[in-house]
Symmetry: C2
Subunit: 218 residues, 2 copies
Amino acid sequence: MTTRQIKVYQDLMGENDRWAEQTRKLLAKHRIYMVNLIGSPGCGKTALLERLADMLHDTLRFAVLEGDIETTNDAQRLARKNIVVSQLLTKGSCHLEAKLVHYALRDLPLTELDLVIVENVGNLVCPAEFDIGEHRKIAMLSVTEGEDKPLKYPLLFREAKAAVVSKIDLLPHLTFDLDACVANIRRINSEFPLFQLSSTSGAGVTEFIDWLCAVPGR
Amino acid sequence: MTTRQIKVYQDLMGENDRWAEQTRKLLAKHRIYMVNLIGSPGCGKTALLERLADMLHDTLRFAVLEGDIETTNDAQRLARKNIVVSQLLTKGSCHLEAKLVHYALRDLPLTELDLVIVENVGNLVCPAEFDIGEHRKIAMLSVTEGEDKPLKYPLLFREAKAAVVSKIDLLPHLTFDLDACVANIRRINSEFPLFQLSSTSGAGVTEFIDWLCAVPGR
């Protein structure tokens, strides 16, 4: 009786982590910093990137990897702002994984970049579970979502290295308690920088840009 | 050489579907209608249920199964409105599955109910993939999220039997194009009823309640 060879299937997260590691090596080689922007659908991720395009152009050369389940709407919005952008379509999946990000990253003009911003699929839950080779995850929450959300979706706020509370221009029209929201975020993560901004009015965006530009190792 | 028994692990979705079927049988036995309310974090699901508690009490006897990853905040909000409510904690998972729903349903006072509303985990993506034994999925989208979201997250709008566009009281403060949003929803699902409402002002809630009360088979 011959011994049949047994096929071993590595767990998928193991494969994901290997691609993430490849991405980190590629980023290090080109001295590029990469952040992974995560938040609910409609929390204002793309609007913030549009605002960054207006304010960052002379400071930092950046590109965007735009994650979506379907459509290229967001990449088209950013292309209109002259941002170097590629669209990553997950075709049904609720988050980006490292392999797709790696392939898209390799095709960017890496020698001309300081920063890559990955806009993840709109989802406050699942993307936080996946390492895509980024240096920092950034948690984004809009004031229209309610001040309790950091407690209800704590993983992202635990994993992130910064938080952005967006759409503060809408505060006069809401019952949202900004102090309670900040306190809730601090209950999950007492250390990281926390930005309050409006991409519509521009308020607070400079502070976020200063943090992006002051990242370690650059 | 004895033949060893081979363990067969049924695929998880198969198991999910069997629990969903058990739930449908239980609901039929008690002539209870069950809907599954799905939308992003902060789109106003709990606020709508609070409003329903104020407006439905003499019309329809209902209970809520409240899905969250962590915290019992939402169940506490509803309990303050004297709603019969149980909290379902997914402990990290981004959606409700049929088994947990079934166990919670069995413990409700079924002989005293006409309607069970399941508030799913705040997530515009994953909950749409899971049959929890409900009669209808309801897709919910707030006007602060942007009119393009039905195209970017089409599965839910395909699976749902009704859509709710919420927070219309905020329209004067936003650049949101309501007609474009409705057109986008209609591109995904041209047939189903579409409600535009505000749980804050109460506008449009009566129409939604009329639809809830007129469900087939009751």
